[in-house]
């Protein structure tokens, strides 16, 4: 198929940036979206032009690097996939595809479609861990019994790949699905309960500091999340946060 691509190009963080249109031809439906971008980039390189810069790494939907906003949706029109798993069979010959970076004040553009998501790292550094020394000798793994349901829910929350689609999608650029998932994973496990109150407060405080918006429960994040992280995690975080103030100190 032949396609017109309307791609956001921006030289640097400070550059204003703007859209540039490109045409690509003979795109197979079996290609992934990024493979289609590779085709475009090879053509640009052949003309000694700078290729379009975008984050990508594992190309199997698990590293969370890729981050394109395609035709008005994070990771494009398909559900339950990252951009690297989006296949061109979801588009038709002659389509015009708009490709933008994930946009949020807390995700400044580095170049073209590549954004800086280190705010996510800083949120996790604020408390996304259990304070246990790796060099210590913990007790036997099976001395902590965890109900299967809790372990499964924790696993569901932990599946988050930190891609930022939730933020990009949310009309408020809120990171609550991401933070909610991380808070939930630990809140659901006995190992994480110990520091639960402090963790949720610190992570929420850092999230606010980074400049993410507040949740208005539109549910868009859950729909666009490539890993289907549930809104329940936000509710759980809210509960934990309220509880930390009502019951803490």
């Amino acid at each position: 198929m032949n396609l017109t691509l309307k791609i956001w190009r921006q030289k640097s963080r400070k550059d204003k940036g703007g859209f540039v249109e490109y045409k690509v031809s003979e795109i197979s439906g079996h290609m992934s979206f990024l493979e289609m971008m590779d085709v475009l980039n090879e053509e640009l390189i052949a003309k000694n032009e700078e290729p379009v810069v975008f984050d990508h790494d594992c190309r199997e939907g698990i590293c969370g690097s890729c981050s394109m906003f395609i035709n008005g949706e994070a990771h494009g029109p398909d559900r339950g996939v990252t951009t690297c798993q989006l296949h061109m069979r979801k588009f038709k010959d002659g389509d015009k595809i708009t490709i933008e970076p994930f946009r949020a004040k807390a995700f400044p553009v580095i170049k073209d479609l590549m954004v800086d998501r280190s705010s996510f790292d800083r949120i996790q550094q604020a408390g996304g861990y259990i304070s246990v020394n790796t060099s210590g000798r913990p007790t036997d793994a099976n001395s902590i019994l965890i109900p299967k349901e809790d372990a499964d829910l924790a696993m569901d929350a932990a599946t988050c790949i930190g891609c930022g689609a939730c933020v990009a999608t949310c009309k408020n650029s809120s990171a609550m699905l991401f933070v909610g998932a991380k808070v939930s994973q630990y809140a659901l496990l006995p190992q994480g309960k110990v520091e639960e109150k402090e963790r949720v407060r610190n992570m929420v405080a850092q999230m606010d500091l980074e400049g993410f918006g507040a949740c208005t429960n539109t549910g868009a994040c859950e729909v666009e999340c490539p890993k289907g992280i549930s809104l329940d995690n936000i509710a759980r975080m809210n509960r934990g946060f309220i509880g930390s103030w009502l019951l803490g100190e």
């Binding site: 992934s32 810069v53 590293c63 580095i110 790292d121 604020a126 861990y129 790796t134 190992q191």
Partner: protein
């Protein structure tokens, strides 16, 4: 006498590690504060090492090329992690894990290292559970296990199909704790481009900030390389697009020996290639082989009809199918080790029985498992006379619970429903057992330079068993390196901070800069990917699942020519001092072009079939095992450690003879 000193401690194998730990020097906590350690790579090995070293009190500087340590490619490991816990009571033990790993590696690994790995394996599980890794559990609340290819016990712990992700996030969380305390200084989007040696010791690195393009000098008292494997030398592999050999190759060029480069693992269960534009291959967890049966059509005409789309696989009767693994290896069936399964699939496809349009695919069929689980579930639900449809529905539910995310991924990529029609799979490069040579302490031949995880050669011999990579990465990072590095650093407590304005740093930076500038100034005509793809094709065709002398010699020549062409005609747009992914790729491919040749040279030198390295000249000529790989312990029971001397063709071979005192060398048989 070899120049290689493995430094394996004396004594019985089961006491070696304990004795060693008891006798090595330690650094006192006050002095650790004055010691800096650089860790390159933040996957399972690097991440766990950085966290643990920081906890111990060292100042750690961690580097990763990704935008966050959490994205290192360990994250993509699906199946699980082995540990000799024997929770299932099925006869597992440290010895059995050790034995399985050495045997699975076809007796080309260092016995003492493997024993230590098995010994610390159960600590890993304790550690990960303590830090909140949500492993799968049974209804009683205890940890669940599954069995994995090539072994007879269930010792694999898992977190759905995302075990690597969960373990990495565990290590990442441990890192975060130390980053927030200022004990780890994290350098995201940084790539190490050289190691700096002062007085023969590793004292720092030259790194490029990938965001700004700035070249930086970083000093430390020791450098740890944990940069993963070099599977991308094949261009197409299950590795991430950015996975590279650069860190390992740079230290190789500065004096670290590179061991067994030809030992690569071709994983049997990947989604087949669909066209030339393909940029990477996607792995389907090996755990699928627990329930899936692998087959091709028994008749050539059927295979042809399927390739042409005239026949559906579901239309073939049992008699028209060839379950070739079950036929050839009745004892292990579909669970034979990866190398055996991969070669068997290639053999069938080469013989014309391959199934998708490219002819390079075999079926992985879940119909029998669905039926088996369906019957079982029907009985559990009190239905003693289930209809076929009820049974299928119940069975599919079980399969969905076990492999739902994998099935979904398959459907997204291939656009076929694997519950209804068998999956197609084909082998793909997945893991490299070879890597930088290290001694028992995980130190390379450069003093103060360590190498851990997939980047080193140590524990998997010629073939890695499923669910062992995660085990090794975390063992090295959490439990081995933090002890052994102290032995070296105890001599460095009075050194003080290493300045970065010495002649050595200046010279190293200059060389790095010159090379980068060459790329952006070169007026070439072919992109980096053009060369990478061509290198990949040579490697796959001539250094792939099956190798012979003629092909290897051709490969050496072709790679040499390709490399010369690369340095003449490669084109890299953009600037050095800017975000420039093409420039990053150029540097990586330049290193692959050298490694590829050494790889072929090593494969040529090793005229035996062992593990993932199959030499057509070395097969069993008669008897029950005819045509199977033939190992040659008399001549090749050694590690090939290559010393850099300029061109790859000039590399000098050093042999570390392998001794097996606690295990009897046997020809592997999975029949």
């Amino acid at each position: 006498m070899s120049v290689l000193k493995s430094n394996v401690p004396e004594g019985p194998i089961k006491d070696k590690w304990t004795n060693h730990k008891n006798h090595i020097d330690l650094v006192n906590p006050a002095n650790k504060r004055n010691i800096d350690i650089i860790v390159v790579g933040t996957g399972l090995a690097g991440g766990s090492a950085a966290a643990t070293l920081a906890e111990l009190g060292y100042n750690v500087k961690a580097f990763c090329y990704q935008d966050s340590p959490r994205r290192a490619h360990s994250i993509a490991a699906q199946g699980g992690i082995n540990a000799a816990k024997n929770y299932q009571g099925d006869g597992d033990s440290v010895y059995r894990l050790f034995y399985d790993t050495v045997k699975g590696g076809d007796y080309r690994s260092r016995e003492a290292n493997v024993y230590r790995l098995a010994e610390v394996s159960s600590n890993i599980i304790d550690q990960c559970v303590a830090q909140g890794v949500p492993f799968a559990r049974e209804y009683g609340g205890v940890l669940d296990n599954r069995s994995f290819g090539g072994v007879l016990v269930s010792r694999t712990f898992y977190a759905k199909g995302q075990t690597g992700q969960q373990l990495l996030l565990g290590a990442y969380s441990a890192m975060n704790r130390q980053i927030s305390r200022g004990k780890i200084k994290m350098y995201n989007r940084h790539e190490m481009l050289d190691v700096v040696k002062i007085d023969g010791k590793a004292r720092g690195i030259i790194a490029r900030d990938l965001t700004t393009g700035k070249i930086e000098r970083h000093s430390a008292h020791a450098v740890v390389i944990a940069s993963g494997g070099y599977g991308n030398v094949y261009y197409l592999s299950t590795n991430a697009m950015g996975s590279n050999v650069t860190a390992g190759w740079k230290i190789h060029k500065k004096g670290a020996f590179f061991a067994n480069p030809c030992f690569t693992q071709i994983h049997p269960t990947c989604i087949p290639r669909s066209g030339d534009y393909q940029s990477k291959l996607t792995l389907m967890s090996e755990s699928l082989r627990n329930d899936g049966r692998i087959w091709v059509p028994a008749n050539l005409e059927d295979a042809k009809a399927i390739r042409e789309g005239k026949l559906k696989p579901t239309a073939l009767t049992e008699e028209q199918r060839d379950y070739f693994l079950e036929r050839r290896y009745p004892a292990f069936g579909n669970l034979v080790p990866r190398d055996v399964a991969s070669r068997a699939a290639k053999e069938r496809c080469d013989a014309g029985y391959g199934v998708n349009a490219t002819g390079e695919a075999v079926y992985l069929d879940f119909k029998a498992a669905i039926k088996r689980y369906g019957t079982e579930q029907a009985l559990i639900h009190g239905n003693h006379n289930p209809t076929d449809q009820e049974m299928t529905e119940l069975g599919e539910k079980v399969i969905e619970e076990k492999y739902g995310n994998l099935f979904q991924m398959y459907e997204k990529i291939v656009d076929e429903n694997p519950y209804k029609t068998p999956m197609m799979i084909y082998p793909a490069t997945h893991y490299t057992m070879g890597g930088v040579w290290v001694d028992y302490n995980l130190m390379t031949t450069i003093p103060g330079c360590y190498c851990i995880g997939e980047a080193n050669f140590s524990d998997h011999g010629a073939n890695r068993l499923g669910a062992s990579a995660l085990m090794q990465g975390l063992a090295d990072g959490y439990f081995v390196l933090p002890y052994t590095i102290g032995d070296y650093l105890s001599h460095d407590i009075r050194t003080g901070e290493i300045p970065t304005d010495s002649a050595e740093f200046i010279e190293a930076e200059k060389q790095v800069r010159e090379k980068l500038e060459f790329f952006v100034n070169n007026e070439g005509k072919h992109s980096v990917d053009y060369y990478h793809k061509r290198l990949g094709k040579i490697m796959w065709d001539k250094c792939g699942m099956s190798r012979n002398e003629k092909g290897l010699k051709e490969a050496i020549q072709e790679i040499k020519e390709l490399r010369a062409d690369f340095w003449k005609n490669v084109i890299v747009p953009g600037k050095v001092e800017d975000m420039n992914p093409e420039l990053e790729k150029a540097g990586r491919v330049a290193d692959f072009l050298e490694l590829g040749e050494l790889f072929a040279k090593d494969a040529l030198e090793r005229n035996e079939s062992c593990g993932g390295h199959f030499r057509e000249e070395s097969v069993v000529m008669d008897g029950e095992q005819v045509g199977e790989a033939l190992r040659n312990d008399k001549e090749y029971a050694y590690v090939s450690a290559w010393e850099y001397k300029g061109e790859p063709s000039d590399a000098v071979l050093h042999k570390e003879e392998l001794e097996f005192k606690d295990i009897e060398l046997k020809q592997r048989s999975y029949k």
